[in-house]
Structure formats: structure tokens, C-alpha cells
């Protein structure tokens, strides 16, 4: 409350001149301003410009009326009508076939597909970011070879359509019949296998998604690292902190603030991006839905089922994102913003009738 009271208090000594259009009861608002400060501070500190004028009245008993924002209310009303219209049409148009949606939403085959989607996302997301981190470090290293290999990797995988990558990995057996691991240019072989047995649908999907993800996340992580002030590294170096610790303890936690929003964008993109593996006939959520609606011809409701699940996953991820970002913002802001839960508690503490009464007794708002 003091934050709103202070500017009012400072302008209090002059006669009412500003803010008339925004608040009809302006004199009362302005008059009430000095109340919080006036009780403890002497009148001189409230307005140093009041020297020579008559002494300020004590406004401690005046009621404080907050400023009104009529246009904000108009805007809110317009948007509310729009939202209500959309909700109404969603609920009442029979062609959405909500009954069919409900029937399939938790069907065993759909849940299986959902689990496959989650599995693909988790594995290729994790591997992609690990590889991306390594690529980012390579790109920032002093070795020209590492830099150019990392650059080329990102260049190739960001240039190739994901669909092409996916089909290419799945058909690797056509290009190379066998995969062998051994010493180059010698006959020493540690491992040898038929490509087609190694590259299953799952392996092709993970490979394609991971490598693609790595190319993008490398740039995100590099950008985050570059955003950290050079002075931080210098200070850590001057203190004799070892290189690995400098990265993990000093640079990365600060880089995370820049990395996280974009990284979550990527992960959320990946959740839906996994639907591209339908070209491999891999039975994740989207492919499963396609198979079902090809059989039942209930195309729209089944697409809705898939969409709703994607919405659920994205929502859960967004909650994680909020709390992880909050964790990494410690020290970057003077006071941490309240979590939604804390906000709700604060709102209840102020706005329930019981709380209001007790606040008025104490003379605060």
C-alpha cells in the first residue's frame, strides 16, 4: 500500500490539479494520501514545498477511495462477451460430438499412444538438450575444429526438414547394410550388426527427434551463455574458481534465465512435433487417433481427443516452467513474484468480509 500512497503524498501540498479525468473523487483521494506517513513522520517530511503556507490538515480519518478505470471495465466486458460466445458455440454445436470425445478420451489405445508420445518426448528431449549443451560448449571453445563441427551440425540439421530426417534414418539400411564399430582403416571390429535390425521405428524416431532437437537447443544454450556478463567469468577466474565449477555454478545458473523460456517453447514444440513420427507408422498419440478415425469416420472428435491431450501436457509443462523460472530468478529480482497460490491466499486475506473488518479496525487497507 505504501507504494501507492507515496506519490500521492508527495504531490499533496499543491492544490488539486491533476488526475481529475481518471477519478471523480479526486480531492478525497489526494487528501487521504498523507495519512499513512502523517501518523509517524512530521509534517515537514511530507511536503518540503509547503514552507510558508498554512500548516497541513491531518487527514488521518479520511476514507481512501481508489482511482477508477472505466475503460478497463469496458475492455473487460467486450472480451468477456467474446469468450462467452465461443464457449457457448463449443458447448452447443452438436457437430463437435463431445459424447464421442468423452468416449475415446481415456480409451486404452489412446492412453497407450499418449504414453508413447510422452516417452518419445522425454527421451529425445533429454538426449537432445544434453547433446545440445555439448554442441554449445564446442561452439564456444577455442578449437577451430570443434567450432566448425558444431556449426556444421546445426547448419545441416536445421536445414533438413524433420520429415526427411525421419525417413532417412528409418531407411538407413538402404544406404548402409551393416553398422560396424572398429578402428578406422584397419580390420579391427568390436561390433557389427545389420542396420535394419538396429534401426527400429522407435530408434529412427528417437534419432531423428534427438538430432533435430540438439541442433536447436545448442543455439538456445549458446545464446544463454553469451547473455551472462563477461565480468562474472572474470571475477570467478580472479578468485581461482576451477573452470568446470565456473560454468556450472556461476555461468549456467545465470544463463538459465535466458535459456528456460525458449527451452520450454522447444519442449512444448517437441510434444506436438512427435506427431510427425506417424510417417514411420509409429503408434504414438496422433497416429493412434488417425488409425481410429479412419475406421470410425469420426474425424473431428478424435482430432479433438488428441488436441485435448496435447493441451493437458502443455498445461502441466507450463506449470513446471513457471516454478523452474521462478527458482532461477532468485537474486535477479529484488523480491520474488508471488506464486499463484500465494496470490490467492493474499487475495482471500484481504477480500473476505472478516479480513476487511479487521483491516479497517487497524486503519490499514
Amino acid at each position: 500500500m505504501s507504494s501507492t500512497a507515496t506519490p500521492v503524498a508527495q504531490s499533496a501540498p499543491e492544490p488539486a490539479s491533476a488526475g481529475i479525468e481518471s477519478a471523480p473523487e479526486t480531492p478525497e483521494v489526494r487528501a487521504a494520501g498523507p495519512a499513512p506517513a502523517g501518523e509517524t513522520a512530521p509534517a515537514g517530511t511530507v511536503g518540503s514545498g509547503s514552507v510558508g503556507r498554512k500548516a497541513a490538515t491531518d487527514y488521518a480519518d479520511y476514507r481512501l477511495v481508489p482511482a477508477r478505470h472505466p475503460w478497463r471495465w469496458v475492455g473487460t466486458a467486450v472480451v468477456a462477451v467474446g469468450v462467452a460466445g465461443i464457449a457457448w458455440s463449443l458447448a452447443t454445436n452438436p457437430r463437435w460430438e463431445w459424447g464421442v470425445v468423452a468416449q475415446w478420451f481415456t480409451a486404452q489405445s489412446i492412453v497407450n499412444g499418449l504414453l508413447e508420445t510422452l516417452k518419445l518426448t522425454a527421451i529425445s528431449g533429454a538426449l537432445g538438450f544434453i547433446l545440445g549443451f555439448i554442441l554449445a560448449l564446442m561452439r564456444l571453445s577455442a578449437s577451430p575444429l570443434l567450432v566448425s563441427v558444431s556449426w556444421t551440425f546445426s547448419w545441416i540439421f536445421r536445414s533438413t526438414p524433420l520429415l526427411v530426417q525421419m525417413l532417412l534414418w528409418y531407411n538407413l539400411g538402404y544406404l548402409y547394410e551393416k553398422i560396424t564399430l572398429g578402428l578406422p582403416f584397419t580390420d579391427v571390429r568390436f561390433f557389427e550388426a545389420q542396420t535394419t535390425t538396429l534401426i527400429s521405428q522407435f530408434a529412427a524416431a528417437v534419432l531423428g527427434l534427438t538430432l533435430n532437437q540438439a541442433a536447436y537447443s545448442a543455439e538456445i544454450i549458446r545464446g544463454g551463455i553469451l547473455s551472462v556478463d563477461q565480468g562474472q567469468l572474470e571475477a570467478a577466474t580472479a578468485l581461482g574458481i576451477p573452470a568446470w565449477r565456473r560454468s556450472t555454478r556461476i555461468v549456467l545458473p545465470q544463463a538459465m534465465r535466458a535459456i528456460l523460456p525458449t527451452a520450454f517453447n522447444e519442449v512444448i514444440g517437441l510434444v506436438k512435433g512427435t506427431s510427425i513420427v506417424y510417417v514411420l507408422a509409429y503408434s504414438e498419440l496422433f497416429y493412434t487417433v488417425q488409425v481410429i478415425y479412419n475406421r470410425t469416420q469420426q474425424v473431428l472428435p478424435l482430432l479433438l481427443v488428441a488436441t485435448l491431450w496435447y493441451v493437458v501436457i502443455t498445461s502441466v509443462l507450463s506449470v513446471f516452467q513457471y516454478y523452474i523460472e521462478r527458482h532461477y530468478s532468485k537474486g535477479a529480482v529484488r523480491t520474488l513474484p508471488l506464486t499463484p497460490l500465494q496470490k490467492a491466499r493474499k487475495f482471500l486475506a484481504v477480500h473476505t468480509p472478516a479480513a476487511r473488518e479487521s483491516n479497517q479496525e487497524r486503519g490499514t487497507r
Partner: protein, 286 residues
Amino acid sequence: MSTALRTTTQTPSAAAATDAVTTRGLVEITKVRKSFGAAEVLKGITLTVEPGGVAVIVGPSGSGKSTLLRTINHLEKVDAGFIAIDGTLVGYAVRGRRLHELREKEILKQRTEIGMVFQNFNLFPHLTALENVTEAPIVAPRAGKPRLSKAEARDRGLELLDRVGLKDRAGAYPRQLSGGQQQRVAIARALALDPKILLFDEPTSALDPELVNEVLDVIRGLAKSGTTLIIVTHEMGFARDVADTVVFMDQGQIVEQGTPQEIFTNPREVRTRSFFSKVIEPAFNI
């Protein structure tokens, strides 16, 4: 000249809180050159700072003061010449007739003997004041000393924060502190490894005028502790007060050096005189 002065003033009581009473921290800079691209910023600097001495480097901006400071703890590699601390080369090992560039780990060990305080504080914003101070003692490899445990580092950190008058703000993040408080935390952080030498790179330049003195007072206290101090500053009154050697640099060279008395009241060189005539009036009002 300053050795004699130091040893006489170095009464045990003045250095009570530290174990840096031993007269270590001899800094010898010999014919150091450094270029950034085509611009040569250090043109053959030779300077000796005695153990426990307080050298203040003054001069116009762009004269190479900060670069010189940064070469001492090897944040900048020199192009030519060498720097030795207590007779040991910084950044190189002597083997036979060859100088071997030290590996990162060895250089880190050397750096732990040299504390540095930056113009912009460079506190770690995501760590509390106490964590800023305790980080290095816990993880930095130190020459001849063990790393501190977390509990030891915490005690030592609180002691140091107390020394700069900020024990009650130990849990605050840097952004919750004023500029002067941040710089005092940075000084505590630099002290945490018991360095032989402390480098100050314009420690008060980023501060509001009314916050300058709280930082200068802390540095004044350190000047009596027996640690070698090398300070780049524009606070002439402070320089006269605390220095036993004042070094005037201009265009990458040392123009003149001597006691504050000699440099401030009787400068021999024209360049020194013209520089002081521009800056000394406002600075003495402190």
C-alpha cells in the same frame, strides 16, 4: 623506500584480524608490454611494490592503469616482460633456460594469492552475500593450504562480512544491497582466500558520492593489515592519505612515481602537473 615505512607502522595490533602479518607480497613488474590490436596500451612498465606496501596508480583514463592491474593476476597475458610475486613468475614456470606457460590449474593457484576488486563489483547476483564470500574458499585450489569445509568457510565468511560491517546482510542477494554495500561484500570476497596482494580497479568509480567513503574506510583498514595493496583510483585525497607510493601513468608509461608528498606537492614532470591541476581541486574536498 616504502619498506622502511611499512615495517615501522606494522604493529601487531593493526593487523590483528589477519594471518597476513608476514611480510609477503613483493610485486615486481619488469618491462611489461601489452597491445590490443594495433594499440599498445602498456609500453614497457617497470614497477616494484614492496611487501605490505600500498601503491596507488593514478592517471588519465586510457593510460593503461587497469590493464596493468589485470596483468598482475594474469587476467591479461603480457606480450613482453614479466611479472613476479615473491620472486615467482606469474603465469610461467622457469625450467632451464625456458619459460613454460602454466596450465590453467597452476594459474588458478597463483590467482588465489591475489585478490581483486572490480569497478563494477562483479558479485554473483544469484548467490547471497555470504555465498559470494564462501564460494572460492570451498572450491579454489590453493597453494599449500587445504580447501575449507562448508562450515569453516561459513564461519570465515561471516567474520569477513563482519569486518566490512555487513554481517547482518549475509543472507541478502547483491541486488538487495546498495552499491557501497555490494563493493564491501566484494572486498570481503577478495579477502576470503587470505591473499598476499589485493588489486583494486577503481573500486569507487561506480558509486554514488555519499557511498564512496564507506568503501574507502574499509580499504584504509586493509592498508594497515600488512597485505600489499595496488589501487587504481581517481580519489586523489584518498590516494594521498593511504599510499606510500603514488604512480602516475600516462599513455602506457609510468611518467613519475614517489611518495604522495613528492607527487602531489612537487611533481617533477609537466604532464603530472597538468593532470593534477585538472583533477586535484574537487578531489581534495572529501
